[in-house]
């Protein structure tokens, strides 16, 4: 729940305050230039920081007939009010060292006065001040909720400043700039809120005047100003203002208003008559003013201007994001009860919806009844035949907000008919727990009686169109409905085809019809065992995919001849010397791991094909355990010699074979169950499991692994899947 609470409050706060916030930001940017424009004036004494009152006051007293007040402003300009020798009143900036007049303070410009009033009170006096104060407080809450959202997005405090995945311009810069201007905005919001609270007297900032015992005032010994200890110890930089004695009467005194206290000083003896420290609330008010206005530092003022400008950008980009997300809202043409295709989406910020929409639109255009909804809306779909779940992962491998109830709902609403499902995970390798929730959804569906896997769980890294088209091709082939990566290209995708020459083809094994075919590419190709070969038996959009094993620089496919198989029949008719046109699809997620300490290969039937290539190329001699299942002993024959050689060559560590129709009538999953302790040890020591073969086998193996992981390692299988320790390529 927490995620959506932060997101909704972030949005709700922004919506309720954006008009005033925009106004405050624009005026804020303008006002930041007031201190900057003041600071460039040449009224600050060079060695201001070193001067004491004992050095300054006698000089000023000598130069001016009468001084009633000296004040030091935020720019450290020293200003005196008094009169000159002719009795004419003066208000001037002076050099505190020489007493020379430096200039006359200008009145606050009408423009800045106007903007300040707008910024503070919208020209609405008390009501305006209240709304502006409220806006500052809302900004504070927006900042806090925004910070929580970044923490969730980045998965933890430590990763706060790590890379951000780029979805689109508005989202990316909303987060990037949000992180950068977080601190200044937080300070602006906090100080603004504080100043408003002080203004409405919710924080008491009353000053206490020094209490003076007039009976105790001494008029002796008379000292010179320069000899007053208190003046010698007080630097001009600590001074806010000094009120000079109104007359020469000993009962009139100096009032020193310093940055943290107020003092009354006897004008004859220099005794401290009274000293009062300001309450913390007053000091905080001064600090808030300094921080909120930037009046003490031009650099800070500019930072504030930039931060205020960023707020304007956040308003724009925030609404752009919201708009986009709302745009993903689904309008279904067909009802859930009528549809043959059900597309379920789990998405936190809406980007996954665009992929779902692409699939949905293509199905509709081909006259299919398709229904698109959130994973949380899962229910009984009476006419469903296909189910596609597309989901992102949020936080630390958690479900996105609109998919949180999915697990409960699946248990609650079993489908009445078998439904062929496919899970598509969206994520980024920039985060740990890559596509973890998608693996969980897959695991969950795999455990349902009604659920029939159509294609393997696929993952899409950083919205890669290539990853998506890999899934689209696999799915299209199984469902016999064409889905392409981009909805604009419904025709045959034009990929560069490679010419391959057949160099060898074995006879089909007696009973199960398996045969091996070897192909030699014309050109040197960048191909790795585990990649896929797409062939076009009829030279049309119909594509068939085969897993490639690379042996001796040739591509070896292991194919089972189906009675009316389009692809297998086509390949089976080939003879040595024939040339075919085909395409190699990079299938990076199913390459032999480069760093694994140990690899366990699990296959059934022709799923052994990529493993044969991997074993033959296992020159580093990575410990390699092959578990494979066949129908009969005869099916193994065509591989037997190669496997024996590899074993004696130490490219293959161990071989375990199960025959489903002979001997003990075992499946490969039975071998895994037998060696469960070993398999768990492999996972626990960062070893990698590779699974290739039929989806039915995959389902059995995953179910088995799921329960053993939970009982023996106390972790969910999806943890290992999301960390790339379980690689799968099934069909």
């Amino acid at each position: 729940m927490t995620i959506s609470v932060w997101r909704y409050s972030h949005l709700a706060l922004a919506v309720s305050s954006f008009l005033l916030l925009a106004l405050a930001s624009i005026t804020g940017v303008i006002l930041a230039f007031e201190p900057v424009s003041q600071k460039i004036q040449p009224y600050r004494a060079a060695n201001f920081d070193e001067l004491t009152l004992a050095q300054t006051l006698p000089v000023l007293k000598k130069n001016y007939a009468e001084i009633s007040e000296l004040s030091v402003d935020a720019n450290q300009f020293v200003q005196i009010k008094g009169s000159d020798a002719d009795g004419k009143s003066l208000t001037v900036y002076v050099d505190p060292q020489t007493g020379k007049i430096l200039g006359t303070p200008a009145r606050q410009s009408e423009f800045f006065q106007w903007v300040t009033a707008l910024h503070r009170s919208l020209f609405l006096h008390e009501a305006g001040r209240f709304f502006v104060g409220l806006t500052a407080f809302l900004l504070l809450l927006i900042t806090v909720s925004g910070t929580m959202l970044i923490l969730q997005r980045q998965r933890g405090v430590k990763r706060f400043f790590t890379r951000i995945v780029r979805d689109n311009f508005a989202q990316y810069y909303h987060v990037v700039l949000g992180r950068l201007s977080l601190v200044p905005i937080l300070i602006v919001a906090l100080s603004g809120t504080y100043l408003s609270l002080a203004r409405f007297e919710l924080i008491k900032t009353e000053k206490i005047s020094p209490d003076i015992d007039f009976d105790a005032i001494q008029s002796r010994p008379e000292r010179k100003l320069a000899d007053f200890t208190v003046f010698q110890n007080t630097r001009l930089s600590e001074v806010q203002s000094i009120e000079f004695p109104f007359s020469e009467d000993p009962e009139d005194y100096y009032t020193l208003k310093l940055s943290d206290r107020e003092m009354a000083v006897n004008q004859i003896t220099g005794d401290i008559l009274s000293e009062v420290r300001y309450p913390t609330a007053v000091l905080l008010t001064t600090l808030s003013l300094n921080l909120h206005t930037g009046r003490t530092s031009a650099v800070w003022a500019i930072i504030l201007a930039v931060a205020a400008g960023n707020i304007l950008f956040f308003i724009y980009s925030g609404f752009a994001i919201t708009w986009k997300r709302r745009g993903n809202r689904v309008k279904n043409k067909y009802s859930a009860d009528d549809s043959r295709f059900i597309i379920l989406v789990g998405s936190e910020n809406g980007s996954t919806f665009r992929f779902a929409q692409a699939i949905h639109q293509q199905l509709i255009r081909q006259g299919e009844k398709s229904f698109l909804t959130e994973l949380n809306n899962y229910t009984v779909f009476p006419k469903a035949e296909y189910l596609i779940a597309l989901t992102a992962t949020y936080g630390l491998g958690d479900a996105p907000t609109n998919a949180r109830r999915f697990a409960t709902l699946v248990e609650k609403h079993p489908q009445p008919h078998p439904v062929r499902y496919s899970v598509l995970g969206f994520g980024s390798h920039a985060y740990p727990d890559f596509c973890k929730f998608a693996f969980e959804v897959n695991q969950l569906l795999a455990g349902q009686k009604w659920a029939v896997p159509l294609v393997d769980v696929h993952t899409i890294n950083d919205k890669s169109p290539d990853d998506f088209s890999l899934w689209a091709e696999a799915w299209s082939q199984q469902a016999d409905i064409l889905i392409t990566a981009s909805s604009e290209h419904l025709k045959t995708p034009e990929h560069p085809l490679e010419a391959l020459t057949v160099t060898g083809i074995t006879q089909t094994a007696q009973t199960d019809g398996t045969f091996l075919i070897r192909l030699q590419p014309k050109h040197n190709l960048n191909v790795t065992s585990g990649d896929l070969l797409a062939i076009y038996p009829q030279n049309d959009h119909r594509e068939r995919l085969y897993s490639i094993g690379v042996l001796d620089n040739e591509l070896q496919l292991s194919v089972r001849l189906h009675p009316d198989g389009l692809g297998s029949g086509f390949l089976h008719r080939l003879t040595s010397g024939d040339t075919i046109q085909a395409r190699i699809i990079d299938n990076g997620h199913f390459h032999f791991p480069q760093k694994a300490p140990v690899v366990v290969m699990i296959s059934n039937g022709t799923g052994i094909a990529p493993f044969l290539g991997m074993i033959s190329q296992n020159n580093p001699r990575t410990p390699c355990h092959l578990y494979c299942g066949f129908r009969q002993r005869a099916s193994l024959e065509i591989y037997q010699r190669f496997l024996d050689e590899s074993k004696s060559d130490r490219k293959l560590t161990d071989l375990h074979v199960a025959f489903s129709r002979e001997d003990k009538k075992q499946y490969v999953s039975d071998l895994i169950a037998r060696d469960a302790d070993f398999i768990m040890e492999v996972l626990n020591t960062n070893g990698v499991l590779m699974i290739c073969g039929s989806l039915a086998m995959q389902k059995d193996v995953l179910e088995l692994l799921g329960t053993t992981c939970q009982t023996k390692l106390g972790k969910s299988l999806s943890v290992y899947q999301s960390h790339g320790q379980i690689l799968m390529d099934c069909y």
Partner: protein, 165 residues
């Protein structure tokens, strides 16, 4: 050499005489008073204070000083604004900054000698944004006696003191 010094001293005397006479000539029959306003420790914005000369009938005669420079707030000083705001030419010459709680302000008032010890009063009228308005925060008779005493205010002003400038 001696004659040179004589000449110099004559010139200096003449000059100083000229300065003195000219400064008197500028203000015939008026006296400057330093006026110190000490504020109470009220909380809120800076107070706008108008110092006016009031005649025997209780009517505004002249604006002596305005503390507070933003004309936008002048209507808050109600009675004065009604009577005098538009009748005071060159108001900026007798305008200073508003005064915040706990602060003090020293201004110089020019007072017509002929009005002294007659039936005139000096009124201190004060207003603070969104707070109470005091038409007579302090009103004192324009007498030699009152100008030498410490006069307590009733609103934002704690007290007012005068001294000849």
């Amino acid at each position: 050499m001696k004659s040179f010094w004589n000449k110099i001293s004559v010139v200096v005397m003449a000059l100083s005489l000229a300065i003195t006479t000219s400064s008197f000539a500028q203000q015939p029959g008026t006296t400057s008073y330093k006026c110190m306003i000490q504020m109470t420790n009220y909380m809120g914005e800076g107070a706008y204070i108008v110092i006016s000369l009031i005649n025997g009938k209780g009517a505004y005669e002249k604006t002596l000083y305005v503390l507070g420079s933003d004309k936008k707030w002048y209507p808050d000083v109600k009675e004065w604004h009604k009577a005098m705001a538009k009748k005071t030419p060159n108001i900026s010459a007798i305008t200073g900054a508003s005064v915040a709680g706990g602060d003090r302000s020293v201004t110089v008032l020019e007072i017509d000698n002929s009005k002294l010890n007659k039936d005139y009063k000096i009124r201190f009228e004060s207003a603070v944004e969104d707070k109470q308005y005091h038409v007579k925060d302090l009103e004192i008779p324009l007498t030699t006696e009152a100008l030498s005493a410490k006069n307590e205010g009733t609103g934002y002003i704690r007290y007012v003191r005068f001294s000849p400038n």
